[in-house]
Protein backbone atom coordinates (compact mmCIF):
# COMPACT_ATOMS: atom_id res chain seq x y z
CA UNK A 1 0.00 0.00 0.00
CA UNK A 2 1.50 3.25 -1.02
CA UNK A 3 0.93 6.12 1.32
CA UNK A 4 1.60 9.71 0.42
CA UNK A 5 4.72 11.37 1.84
CA UNK A 6 2.46 13.61 3.91
CA UNK A 7 0.80 10.57 5.44
CA UNK A 8 4.19 9.03 6.19
CA UNK A 9 5.16 12.15 8.12
CA UNK A 10 1.89 12.19 10.04
CA UNK A 11 2.20 8.54 10.97
CA UNK A 12 5.86 8.86 11.90
CA UNK A 13 4.90 11.48 14.46
CA UNK A 14 2.39 9.12 16.04
CA UNK A 15 4.81 6.24 16.55
CA UNK A 16 5.78 5.35 20.08
CA UNK A 17 9.36 4.26 20.39
CA UNK A 18 9.36 3.32 24.06
CA UNK A 19 7.40 0.09 23.56
CA UNK A 20 9.76 -2.89 23.17
CA UNK A 21 9.66 -5.07 20.08
CA UNK A 22 7.28 -7.92 20.82
CA UNK A 23 7.06 -11.31 19.20
CA UNK A 24 4.28 -13.88 19.41
CA UNK A 25 4.78 -16.14 22.40
CA UNK A 26 6.19 -13.40 24.61
CA UNK A 27 4.96 -13.27 28.15
CA UNK A 28 4.35 -9.60 28.82
CA UNK A 29 3.14 -7.35 31.58
CA UNK A 30 1.28 -4.37 30.14
CA UNK A 31 0.82 -1.42 32.45
CA UNK A 32 -2.42 0.28 31.48
CA UNK A 33 -3.36 3.78 32.59
CA UNK A 34 -6.83 3.85 34.03
CA UNK A 35 -8.64 7.10 34.69
CA UNK A 36 -10.98 7.18 37.65
CA UNK A 37 -12.60 10.54 37.99
CA UNK A 38 -9.66 12.90 37.93
CA UNK A 39 -7.21 10.37 39.34
CA UNK A 40 -5.07 8.10 37.24
CA UNK A 41 -3.69 4.74 38.26
CA UNK A 42 -1.90 1.86 36.63
CA UNK A 43 -3.23 -1.62 36.15
CA UNK A 44 -1.09 -4.49 34.99
CA UNK A 45 -2.35 -6.96 32.40
CA UNK A 46 -0.09 -9.98 32.27
CA UNK A 47 -0.36 -12.62 29.60
CA UNK A 48 0.93 -14.11 26.39
CA UNK A 49 1.19 -12.21 23.13
CA UNK A 50 -0.82 -14.37 20.76
CA UNK A 51 -1.01 -12.07 17.75
CA UNK A 52 0.74 -9.04 16.35
CA UNK A 53 -0.62 -6.79 13.66
CA UNK A 54 2.11 -4.74 12.09
CA UNK A 55 1.87 -1.50 10.20
CA UNK A 56 1.83 2.13 11.22
CA UNK A 57 -1.14 1.53 13.51
CA UNK A 58 -0.14 -1.88 14.71
CA UNK A 59 -1.72 -3.77 17.56
CA UNK A 60 -0.83 -6.71 19.72
CA UNK A 61 -3.18 -9.15 21.40
CA UNK A 62 -2.46 -10.35 24.91
CA UNK A 63 -4.23 -13.41 26.30
CA UNK A 64 -4.41 -14.48 29.89
CA UNK A 65 -6.51 -16.90 31.85
CA UNK A 66 -8.22 -15.18 34.72
CA UNK A 67 -10.11 -17.33 37.22
CA UNK A 68 -10.59 -20.03 34.63
CA UNK A 69 -11.80 -17.65 31.93
CA UNK A 70 -9.70 -16.67 28.96
CA UNK A 71 -9.36 -12.90 28.62
CA UNK A 72 -7.88 -11.25 25.57
CA UNK A 73 -7.06 -7.63 25.12
CA UNK A 74 -5.98 -5.91 21.94
CA UNK A 75 -3.63 -3.00 22.52
CA UNK A 76 -2.88 -0.44 19.81
CA UNK A 77 0.89 -0.10 19.89
CA UNK A 78 0.74 3.69 19.79
CA UNK A 79 -2.00 3.98 22.37
CA UNK A 80 -1.69 6.67 25.01
CA UNK A 81 -3.21 4.23 27.48
CA UNK A 82 -0.06 2.14 27.59
CA UNK A 83 2.31 3.25 30.31
CA UNK A 84 4.94 0.62 29.72
CA UNK A 85 5.28 -2.92 28.45
CA UNK A 86 7.64 -5.42 30.09
CA UNK A 87 8.70 -8.61 28.39
CA UNK A 88 8.96 -11.22 31.14
CA UNK A 89 9.98 -14.23 29.07
CA UNK A 90 9.66 -15.35 25.46
CA UNK A 91 8.16 -18.66 24.50
CA UNK A 92 9.36 -20.85 21.67
CA UNK A 93 6.67 -20.83 19.01
CA UNK A 94 6.49 -21.93 15.40
CA UNK A 95 3.72 -19.75 14.09
CA UNK A 96 2.80 -16.07 13.99
CA UNK A 97 -0.69 -16.33 15.41
CA UNK A 98 -1.11 -18.48 18.50
CA UNK A 99 -4.87 -18.81 18.32
CA UNK A 100 -4.55 -22.52 19.05
CA UNK A 101 -3.89 -21.55 22.68
CA UNK A 102 -7.56 -20.64 22.96
CA UNK A 103 -8.48 -24.30 22.75
CA UNK A 104 -5.90 -25.40 25.30
CA UNK A 105 -5.92 -24.97 29.01
CA UNK A 106 -3.80 -25.73 32.02
CA UNK A 107 -0.51 -27.45 31.42
CA UNK A 108 -1.17 -27.87 27.70
CA UNK A 109 -1.35 -24.09 27.21
CA UNK A 110 2.23 -23.58 28.36
CA UNK A 111 4.97 -22.52 25.96
CA UNK A 112 8.54 -23.74 26.11
CA UNK A 113 10.98 -20.90 26.72
CA UNK A 114 12.99 -19.74 23.73
CA UNK A 115 16.77 -20.11 23.98
Amino acid sequence: MSISPIMDKVLAKLQRTDIPVLTPGDNVRVHVKIKEGDKERLQAFEGTVIAINNGPQGTFTVRKVSFGHGVERIFPRNSKVLDKVEVLRSGKVRRAKLFYLRDLKGKAARLREAE
Binding site: I3, S4, I6, M7, K9, V10, L11, L14, K33, K35, E36, G37, D38, P56, Q57, P76, N78, S79, K80, V81
Partner: protein, 251 residues
Amino acid sequence: MASVNGILGKKVGMTQLFDDRGDVRPVTVLQAGPCVITQKKSAAKDGYDAVQIGLVEFVKGKNVSKPMQGHFAKHNLPPVKFMKEVSIISETAKSAAEGHEDVAVKVGDKVLVDIFQDERFVDVSGTSKGRGFAGVVRRHHFQGGPAAHGHMFQVQGSIGASSFPSRVFPNQRMSGHMGDAAVTVRNLKIRGIDVEENLLFVEGAVPGHKGAYVVITRAKQPPRERRGFAGSTTIDPLKAAKKAAAGKAKK
Protein backbone atom coordinates in the same frame (compact mmCIF):
# COMPACT_ATOMS: atom_id res chain seq x y z
CA MET B 1 -8.93 41.70 11.19
CA ALA B 2 -11.44 40.57 8.74
CA SER B 3 -11.13 36.93 8.11
CA VAL B 4 -11.88 34.58 5.29
CA ASN B 5 -14.51 31.98 6.03
CA GLY B 6 -12.88 29.01 4.37
CA ILE B 7 -9.88 27.46 2.74
CA LEU B 8 -9.20 25.11 -0.14
CA GLY B 9 -7.45 21.83 0.27
CA LYS B 10 -6.82 18.32 -0.82
CA LYS B 11 -7.77 15.06 0.77
CA VAL B 12 -4.61 13.21 1.79
CA GLY B 13 -6.02 10.08 3.35
CA MET B 14 -7.46 8.58 6.47
CA THR B 15 -5.84 7.31 9.62
CA GLN B 16 -6.49 6.95 13.33
CA LEU B 17 -5.68 9.35 16.13
CA PHE B 18 -5.97 8.93 19.88
CA ASP B 19 -8.05 11.49 21.72
CA ASP B 20 -7.53 12.74 25.27
CA ARG B 21 -9.25 9.73 26.74
CA GLY B 22 -7.07 7.35 24.78
CA ASP B 23 -9.89 6.30 22.47
CA VAL B 24 -9.19 5.77 18.79
CA ARG B 25 -10.86 8.22 16.43
CA PRO B 26 -11.08 7.83 12.65
CA VAL B 27 -9.51 10.89 11.14
CA THR B 28 -9.20 12.32 7.64
CA VAL B 29 -6.00 14.19 6.93
CA LEU B 30 -6.59 17.23 4.76
CA GLN B 31 -3.94 19.37 3.22
CA ALA B 32 -5.48 22.78 3.80
CA GLY B 33 -3.87 25.59 1.91
CA PRO B 34 -1.74 27.57 1.56
CA CYS B 35 -4.20 29.67 -0.37
CA VAL B 36 -3.97 33.08 -1.89
CA ILE B 37 -6.71 35.60 -2.41
CA THR B 38 -7.00 36.06 -6.15
CA GLN B 39 -9.93 38.44 -6.36
CA LYS B 40 -12.18 40.43 -4.13
CA LYS B 41 -15.87 40.85 -4.72
CA SER B 42 -17.53 43.82 -3.15
CA ALA B 43 -21.12 44.67 -2.48
CA ALA B 44 -20.74 47.89 -4.39
CA LYS B 45 -19.48 46.28 -7.55
CA ASP B 46 -20.72 42.70 -7.52
CA GLY B 47 -23.68 42.87 -5.18
CA TYR B 48 -22.12 40.77 -2.43
CA ASP B 49 -18.96 40.53 -0.38
CA ALA B 50 -16.70 37.57 -0.98
CA VAL B 51 -13.19 36.63 -1.93
CA GLN B 52 -11.96 34.28 -4.59
CA ILE B 53 -9.16 32.13 -3.24
CA GLY B 54 -6.86 29.73 -5.03
CA LEU B 55 -4.94 26.75 -3.72
CA VAL B 56 -1.22 27.36 -4.15
CA GLU B 57 0.50 24.26 -5.49
CA PHE B 58 3.02 23.44 -8.16
CA VAL B 59 1.27 24.67 -11.28
CA LYS B 60 3.13 25.67 -14.39
CA GLY B 61 2.09 29.04 -15.70
CA LYS B 62 1.79 27.72 -19.22
CA ASN B 63 -0.79 25.17 -18.15
CA VAL B 64 -3.19 27.88 -17.13
CA SER B 65 -5.42 29.40 -19.77
CA LYS B 66 -4.47 32.78 -21.22
CA PRO B 67 -7.38 34.65 -19.59
CA MET B 68 -6.42 33.16 -16.23
CA GLN B 69 -2.77 34.09 -16.77
CA GLY B 70 -3.92 37.66 -17.23
CA HIS B 71 -6.07 37.39 -14.10
CA PHE B 72 -3.07 36.31 -12.04
CA ALA B 73 -0.63 38.72 -13.68
CA LYS B 74 -2.82 41.65 -12.65
CA HIS B 75 -1.75 41.23 -9.04
CA ASN B 76 1.47 39.31 -9.62
CA LEU B 77 0.01 36.10 -8.17
CA PRO B 78 1.27 32.54 -8.58
CA PRO B 79 -0.73 30.47 -11.08
CA VAL B 80 -3.35 28.32 -9.37
CA LYS B 81 -5.53 25.55 -10.72
CA PHE B 82 -8.24 25.26 -8.09
CA MET B 83 -10.18 28.37 -7.19
CA LYS B 84 -13.39 28.95 -5.28
CA GLU B 85 -15.27 31.83 -3.79
CA VAL B 86 -15.69 31.98 -0.03
CA SER B 87 -17.45 34.51 2.10
CA ILE B 88 -15.79 36.93 4.47
CA ILE B 89 -16.67 37.02 8.12
CA SER B 90 -18.44 40.28 8.80
CA GLU B 91 -15.64 42.65 9.58
CA THR B 92 -17.51 45.04 11.79
CA ALA B 93 -18.94 42.49 14.20
CA LYS B 94 -15.76 40.50 14.60
CA SER B 95 -13.35 43.43 14.88
CA ALA B 96 -15.66 45.21 17.29
CA ALA B 97 -15.76 42.18 19.53
CA GLU B 98 -12.01 41.81 19.54
CA GLY B 99 -11.32 45.51 19.67
CA HIS B 100 -9.13 45.40 16.59
CA GLU B 101 -9.21 48.08 14.02
CA ASP B 102 -10.76 47.04 10.81
CA VAL B 103 -8.18 45.70 8.39
CA ALA B 104 -9.79 44.54 5.20
CA VAL B 105 -8.46 41.51 3.38
CA LYS B 106 -6.81 42.35 0.10
CA VAL B 107 -5.85 40.54 -3.04
CA GLY B 108 -2.58 38.65 -2.66
CA ASP B 109 -3.14 37.90 1.03
CA LYS B 110 -2.31 34.40 2.18
CA VAL B 111 -5.01 32.23 3.68
CA LEU B 112 -3.61 29.58 5.98
CA VAL B 113 -5.08 26.79 8.03
CA ASP B 114 -4.70 28.85 11.22
CA ILE B 115 -8.07 30.46 10.46
CA PHE B 116 -9.56 27.38 12.11
CA GLN B 117 -7.44 27.76 15.25
CA ASP B 118 -10.39 28.75 17.42
CA GLU B 119 -12.95 26.58 15.69
CA ARG B 120 -14.23 23.19 16.77
CA PHE B 121 -16.17 22.14 13.70
CA VAL B 122 -15.82 22.55 9.96
CA ASP B 123 -17.90 21.76 6.90
CA VAL B 124 -16.11 20.03 4.05
CA SER B 125 -17.40 20.04 0.46
CA GLY B 126 -16.07 17.97 -2.36
CA THR B 127 -16.99 15.75 -5.24
CA SER B 128 -17.91 12.22 -4.23
CA LYS B 129 -16.34 9.19 -5.86
CA GLY B 130 -18.08 8.27 -9.11
CA ARG B 131 -19.82 4.89 -9.07
CA GLY B 132 -20.95 4.83 -12.70
CA PHE B 133 -24.32 3.34 -13.60
CA ALA B 134 -25.34 1.70 -10.35
CA GLY B 135 -28.26 -0.60 -9.65
CA VAL B 136 -30.98 0.05 -7.13
CA VAL B 137 -29.45 -2.13 -4.43
CA ARG B 138 -26.29 -0.11 -4.42
CA ARG B 139 -27.80 3.24 -5.23
CA HIS B 140 -30.88 3.26 -3.03
CA HIS B 141 -30.19 0.40 -0.64
CA PHE B 142 -33.03 -1.76 -1.93
CA GLN B 143 -33.04 -5.17 -0.40
CA GLY B 144 -32.77 -7.18 -3.60
CA GLY B 145 -34.36 -10.53 -4.18
CA PRO B 146 -33.68 -14.01 -2.79
CA ALA B 147 -30.31 -15.32 -3.80
CA ALA B 148 -31.27 -18.78 -5.00
CA HIS B 149 -34.07 -20.97 -6.42
CA GLY B 150 -34.08 -19.34 -9.84
CA HIS B 151 -34.57 -15.79 -8.66
CA MET B 152 -33.13 -12.63 -10.06
CA PHE B 153 -30.79 -11.12 -7.52
CA GLN B 154 -30.51 -7.36 -7.43
CA VAL B 155 -33.67 -6.27 -9.16
CA GLN B 156 -36.28 -3.75 -8.26
CA GLY B 157 -39.82 -5.13 -7.91
CA SER B 158 -42.86 -3.15 -8.92
CA ILE B 159 -42.55 0.52 -9.79
CA GLY B 160 -46.23 1.34 -9.38
CA ALA B 161 -49.83 0.28 -9.99
CA SER B 162 -51.35 -0.50 -13.42
CA SER B 163 -54.23 1.23 -15.17
CA PHE B 164 -54.40 3.80 -12.47
CA PRO B 165 -52.34 5.96 -12.57
CA SER B 166 -50.97 4.54 -15.87
CA ARG B 167 -47.70 6.30 -15.25
CA VAL B 168 -44.69 6.14 -13.02
CA PHE B 169 -44.66 8.76 -10.32
CA PRO B 170 -41.86 11.28 -10.38
CA ASN B 171 -38.86 10.57 -8.21
CA GLN B 172 -39.36 6.81 -8.42
CA ARG B 173 -36.02 5.44 -7.32
CA MET B 174 -34.36 3.50 -10.12
CA SER B 175 -30.90 2.53 -11.24
CA GLY B 176 -28.74 5.20 -12.78
CA HIS B 177 -25.65 7.27 -12.39
CA MET B 178 -24.34 7.41 -8.87
CA GLY B 179 -21.64 9.48 -7.23
CA ASP B 180 -19.44 12.15 -8.78
CA ALA B 181 -21.74 14.72 -7.24
CA ALA B 182 -21.14 17.71 -5.02
CA VAL B 183 -21.37 16.58 -1.43
CA THR B 184 -20.98 18.60 1.76
CA VAL B 185 -20.29 16.92 5.07
CA ARG B 186 -21.20 19.21 7.91
CA ASN B 187 -19.83 19.54 11.42
CA LEU B 188 -16.72 17.45 11.25
CA LYS B 189 -14.86 17.82 14.50
CA ILE B 190 -11.37 19.24 14.25
CA ARG B 191 -8.94 16.78 15.76
CA GLY B 192 -5.76 18.70 15.11
CA ILE B 193 -4.12 21.44 13.13
CA ASP B 194 -0.59 21.40 11.82
CA VAL B 195 0.19 24.97 10.82
CA GLU B 196 3.72 24.22 9.64
CA GLU B 197 2.68 21.45 7.28
CA ASN B 198 -0.69 23.03 6.44
CA LEU B 199 -2.59 20.01 7.64
CA LEU B 200 -6.03 19.76 9.14
CA PHE B 201 -7.26 16.63 10.87
CA VAL B 202 -11.02 16.15 10.94
CA GLU B 203 -12.92 13.32 12.50
CA GLY B 204 -14.89 11.28 10.00
CA ALA B 205 -14.98 10.77 6.26
CA VAL B 206 -14.74 13.41 3.57
CA PRO B 207 -16.18 13.07 0.05
CA GLY B 208 -13.91 12.15 -2.83
CA HIS B 209 -10.83 10.13 -3.54
CA LYS B 210 -7.35 10.75 -2.18
CA GLY B 211 -5.93 13.86 -3.73
CA ALA B 212 -9.41 15.25 -4.40
CA TYR B 213 -9.96 18.96 -4.04
CA VAL B 214 -12.13 20.02 -1.14
CA VAL B 215 -13.47 23.29 0.21
CA ILE B 216 -13.22 23.59 3.98
CA THR B 217 -15.34 26.22 5.67
CA ARG B 218 -16.25 27.15 9.19
CA ALA B 219 -19.23 25.09 10.33
CA LYS B 220 -22.36 26.84 9.12
CA GLN B 221 -24.47 25.50 11.94
CA PRO B 222 -22.28 23.88 14.58
CA PRO B 223 -24.00 21.51 17.00
CA ARG B 224 -25.30 23.20 20.10
CA GLU B 225 -23.39 22.64 23.27
CA ARG B 226 -25.50 20.23 25.19
CA ARG B 227 -26.16 21.22 28.75
CA GLY B 228 -27.17 19.20 31.73
CA PHE B 229 -26.75 15.77 30.25
CA ALA B 230 -24.87 13.14 32.20
CA GLY B 231 -21.21 13.41 31.47
CA SER B 232 -21.20 17.08 30.55
CA THR B 233 -19.79 18.11 33.91
CA THR B 234 -19.24 15.01 36.01
CA ILE B 235 -17.14 12.22 34.65
CA ASP B 236 -18.48 9.44 36.83
CA PRO B 237 -21.99 9.88 38.24
CA LEU B 238 -21.34 7.21 40.86
CA LYS B 239 -18.26 8.99 42.15
CA ALA B 240 -20.07 12.31 42.15
CA ALA B 241 -22.84 10.84 44.26
CA LYS B 242 -20.26 9.46 46.69
CA LYS B 243 -18.56 12.82 46.86
CA ALA B 244 -21.84 14.54 47.60
CA ALA B 245 -22.59 12.04 50.33
CA ALA B 246 -19.15 12.58 51.86
CA GLY B 247 -19.64 16.34 51.74
CA LYS B 248 -22.94 16.07 53.62
CA ALA B 249 -21.40 13.86 56.28
CA LYS B 250 -18.73 16.47 56.95
CA LYS B 251 -21.29 19.18 57.49
